[in-house]
Symmetry: C2
Subunit: 240 residues, 2 copies
DNA sequence: TTTTAGATGTGAATATTATCACATAAATGG
DNA sequence: CCATTTATGTGATAATATTCACATCTAAAA
């Protein structure tokens, strides 16, 4: 599967020999659909229709079908979709079949919590190591090994790590980020409330808790409702 | 300031006696601009132009001006914008002048980290209390008081709490959420990887770490770049 | 086996969002 | 103090995303 940028908001990629233009929003919603499907699965549902899923996800049935169409996910012309089939197709889309090694930068309050988060493993994502400049933390015992920055290159290469989580103080974030990029990291989840500068081929996903909270407060204050939606906007999404 | 919903994607609200239609995406970008402005401020910048900010935020200068226009934020016809003025206007927009009391549900790994996060306070958001069913945690000493669920109503009313953070296990999340809604909570940041069901007047902001990680992996794998963007899509944004 | 009801899949139509382009205002310099 | 330069602010226009509408297919009923 080959992907190239066609223009600023469209991505062009191949699904089974056919080149299609996939809208970024469609991709985002696929994640939502997947979450809904897991929920429905837990409830014992085995078959869904576009309107079942739409209802659950807070979108229109047309949207669901259109999105599926974009990703070449197809159901039975009258019988809707078999839930397990759908999930399988989505997981394949997200490379769930493969294992992914991840590293964690910073073993402070947040890093510690993340290091104990078992769900990563359940989803084939292994946090193979954490890195911290504090020598005390390198000596202490945690669920995952904690190294000094001197071993960053070695670990990244040994485990073929492509994605890192940044949980270091704001002030160190850019420096740590640069170091990661220098060592071949291509994707970053950044918890530090700063906008990191990276080369164009590196993907950053910022999670800014204060901003998210503030936006909720804004919505609540102004009585903006999320009718029909399961979620309000997350910030920093779909810029440009 | 009064806000009402006009249709599914537009919101209608009053800015100084003039009713304007504000696009949701504009609002999202205002958060981004603010983050950029703080960054520039730290670098000693005092005056910005639409193209300065655009460059920093990874959008077009037109977009910046248009967004400002939507929110009635205006600069000097030739002299650009005074940074401190801009920030002031944005903070006013986000009710930063007022204090906001917040509660935290669940004092586990994540809850503990959040309870120590000092930045909330810096931004006028006070986590006044945490709640946990574990009696041990109610007795132990933390940075903030930890209560049992029996005191939820009392605390919410005493501190006029409108917004809560959910950091309880997935299995308990809906139940805790219902309890919050029953006691008048109108906005929720939810870390549990489930889609919560709430009445229409309650705003939910889900932060699903695994999904965010998976999306980064997806982007990295498919070599989708975030050219010109400071952030890739966050999930669950802008549905419907 | 044939009919019928009901859901999919997708171009066409509509709605929304972003960019363009330029009139407009304010600093600057002669 | 007027001309010139330069950046704002915003309608007009272009691009993108969503919804509509219906042809198409298939499961179930007759
Ligand atoms: N605590 C939270 O709940 C929370 C929530 C959201 C965001 N954040 C953000 O996450 C980041 C970490 O927060 P925290 O509360 O865990 O802070 P912390 O101070 O507890 O932990 C930071 C850790 O990073 C390490 N560190 C510092 N500089 C480093 C460097 N150059 N290289 C490697 N390691 C380094 C420190 O030794 C420390 O262990 C901050 O940017 C914060 O704003 C924290
Ligand atoms: N640990 C992480 O880094 C992390 C990251 C992202 C998301 N999450 C999510 O956040 C949630 C909490 O994660 P965690 O690692 O802190 O789990 P945890 O098990 O360490 O903590 C959960 C806490 O909630 C309390 N609790 C359970 N049921 C409750 C109820 N009905 N009412 C009040 N309190 C209750 C428990 O006593 C416990 O203290 C989970 O849904 C998890 O998926 C965790």
């Amino acid at each position: 599967m080959y992907i190239c940028r066609v223009n600023l908001t469209y991505y062009c990629f191949k699904v089974k020999t056919v080149t299609k233009n996939v809208l970024k929003n469609s991709l985002k919603r696929i994640f939502l659909y997947r979450a809904c499907l897991y929920r429905l699965k837990m409830m014992g549902v085995e078959k869904v229709f576009s309107y079942t899923l739409a209802e659950e996800a807070g979108v229109t049935p047309d949207q669901v079908r259109k999105d599926f169409s974009e990703f070449n996910i197809r159901g039975n012309k009258r019988g809707g979709y078999v839930l397990s089939d759908l999930l399988e197709k989505m997981e394949a889309l997200f490379y769930r079949n493969k294992e992914h090694n991840i590293i964690l930068m910073g073993m402070g309050n947040l890093g510690l919590a993340l290091s104990k988060y078992s769900r990563f493993v359940q989803r084939n994502m292994n946090v193979v190591a954490a890195f911290d400049i504090d020598p005390y933390k390198q000596k202490a015992r945690y669920d995952i090994p904690v190294y000094g920055m001197d071993r960053l290159k070695e670990i990244i290469h040994r485990f073929k790590v492509k994605v890192a989580i940044i949980a270091v103080p704001e002030i160190s974030a850019q420096q740590v980020c640069d170091e990661l990029v220098r060592n071949g990291i291509k994707g970053i989840i950044n918890f530090a409330p700063v906008l990191l500068k990276v080369p164009e081929d590196v993907v950053i996903n910022n999670i800014n808790l204060c901003d998210e909270l503030e936006s909720v407060i804004y919505y609540v204050h102004n009585q903006i409702r999320n009718e029909g939606l399961k979620n309000i906007e997350l910030l920093y999404g779909d810029m440009k």
